[in-house]
């Protein structure tokens, strides 16, 4: 299989806790860009970035409009904006209406990332209490990307992984603790 160029992660309720575990387990030598969309309901993701930076061995920053996607770096979707990846691998933000009642929407990020990276992308759906991410993961798989879904019975909120499995299916459905080792295995050259 093609070695992935990027990892996209989506989550909502219970997401920050799950992200800490996943990012904490990622190998710091990973060259891939790691993009995160997490519904927080707060006005900024400043605190979320700080929290994740403490757990992660890769640097964590907020994704900025027009910036190039960075390898070996965790980039978090800003609050209140959809985050999209352009085909030339720069970020675009949008204040278009909410999708699945949320903005940023995981579906929007996943679909644009899938179009940009096609089969060189891994998508991960973690804990969450709504169905956002399911359509995006389906599109990601359609374009040849690899889908990982946290086992619903292992998630703090199971609705999001359940919806992803129902709508997109998964190449790997594993408990939270197994996700980082699996990503390391898929992504280290």
């Amino acid at each position: 299989m093609t070695c992935p160029a990027a990892i996209v992660l989506g989550c909502s309720a219970g997401g920050p806790e799950a992200l800490k575990v996943v990012l904490g387990g990622l190998d710091p030598r990973l060259p891939q860009a790691v993009l995160v969309c997490c519904h927080t309901g707060s006005e900024t993701v400043e605190l979320l970035c700080e929290l994740l930076a403490r757990a992660s061995r890769l640097p964590v920053i907020e994704a900025a409009e027009r910036e190039a996607v960075r390898g070996g770096t965790v980039q978090v979707a800003p609050a209140g904006y959809h985050l999209l990846v352009e085909r030339d691998l720069h970020f675009t933000l949008s204040t278009d209406p909410r999708v699945n009642l949320v903005r940023p929407s995981i579906d929007v990020l996943f679909a644009s990332a899938a179009a940009a990276w096609r089969n060189a992308l891994v998508g991960v759906v973690l804990s969450g209490a709504n169905a956002d991410g399911a359509d995006g993961l389906r599109e990601l798989r359609r374009l040849g990307g690899c889908a990982i879904v946290q086992s619903p019975d292992d998630a703090l909120a199971s609705a999001m992984p359940q919806a992803a499995l129902a709508r997109a299916g998964a190449d790997h459905c594993v408990p939270l603790d197994a996700i980082a080792p699996l990503l390391n295995q898929l992504c280290l050259p």
Binding site: R66, Y81, H82, L84, L93, S94, T95
Partner: protein
């Protein structure tokens, strides 16, 4: 191409043809919009006005001129909220308006006003600061349909609670309900707030400077533009502003290459002050 194009590549061709048809048939150039968000909007329009195929939408664009206003509205700035990002409006109220008060007449340009939520927010700020009588607001948008809705000032009532909270968080000293009436599930802004507002079509991709302004607001518009069009827009703002005039961008936007012309007043809130020679001074 060394392989037959897949559906994404075909869709890319369809999008290019749509943009070309829009430009040649109607004179609107979306070629410098950020491709990812433009594609999302065009896809949505193709769903709303047909079977989802962009080429079918292009056919209608070419042959049904009556459809143009709806397409332009779908491609222009999305709706906002009143006092969205209250901290920005609080800073305008507390830091910018007191300085604007030193000018005998105020000209304000809100570029990309969409449905007008932020225009009315601004009018309320000016009213409460006692500056509205000497103010003139130009509220512009690409879309005539959006301007029509902005002029009406009628919004769904379900927004009212959030907007009231925003108004108070922005330092409002009364109640938002003092400026609007509610009936039939709708919220109608007081028509008096419009008395110094001129709604007018203006396309940042094609049109020129039209006023000399003390304040330019353009929030969450530039994020939809690719770099050259962002720079064109920022140059228009620079050339519209008087020396010491203010520019207010969206919370995740930056002046980028135009940074030399703008000194931050509050960098986090994206409020800047025009520095350097003005357009009039730079003319030979």
């Amino acid at each position: 191409m060394d392989h037959p194009p897949d559906d994404l590549e075909l869709e890319g061709i369809e999008l290019d043809l749509f943009v070309e048809a829009m430009r040649r048939r109607h004179g609107y150039d979306f070629g410098q919009y950020a491709p990812a968000s433009l594609l999302r909007r065009v896809r949505q329009l193709a769903q709303r006005h047909g079977d989802g195929a962009i080429s079918a939408l292009t056919h209608r664009l070419l042959h049904e001129p009556a459809l143009l206003p709806q397409l332009l509205e779908g491609l222009s700035v999305p709706a906002s909220d009143m006092f969205r990002d209250p901290s920005v409006f609080r800073a305008l109220r507390e830091q910018v308006l007191p300085l604007l008060a030193s000018w005998p007449q105020l000209t304000i340009w809100q570029a990309g006003c969409a449905h007008g939520e932020e225009v009315y927010s601004l009018a309320i700020l000016l009213e409460e600061a006692g500056l509205y009588e000497r103010s003139q607001i130009f509220a512009t948008d690409l879309s005539a349909q959006a301007l029509e809705r902005a002029r009406e000032g009628i919004y769904p009532l379900r927004s009212a609670q959030q907007w009231s909270r925003n108004y108070l968080a922005a330092g409002g000293s009364h109640s938002l309900s003092d400026y609007c009436s509610a009936r039939y599930g709708l919220l109608k802004l007081d028509g008096r707030l419009r008395r110094h507002v001129t709604f007018a079509p203006h396309n940042l991709a094609a049109d020129a400077v039209f006023c000399e302004a003390q304040l330019v607001l353009c929030r969450n518009v530039l994020i939809y533009f690719a770099n050259p069009l962002q720079q064109r827009s920022l140059a228009l703002f620079r050339d519209s502003l008087v020396r010491g005039g203010f520019l207010c961008l969206g919370l995740r936007e930056r002046p980028g290459a135009a940074e030399a012309d703008f000194a931050p007043i509050d960098a986090n809130l994206r409020i800047y002050r025009r520095i350097g020679p003005t357009a009039t001074e730079r003319r030979p």
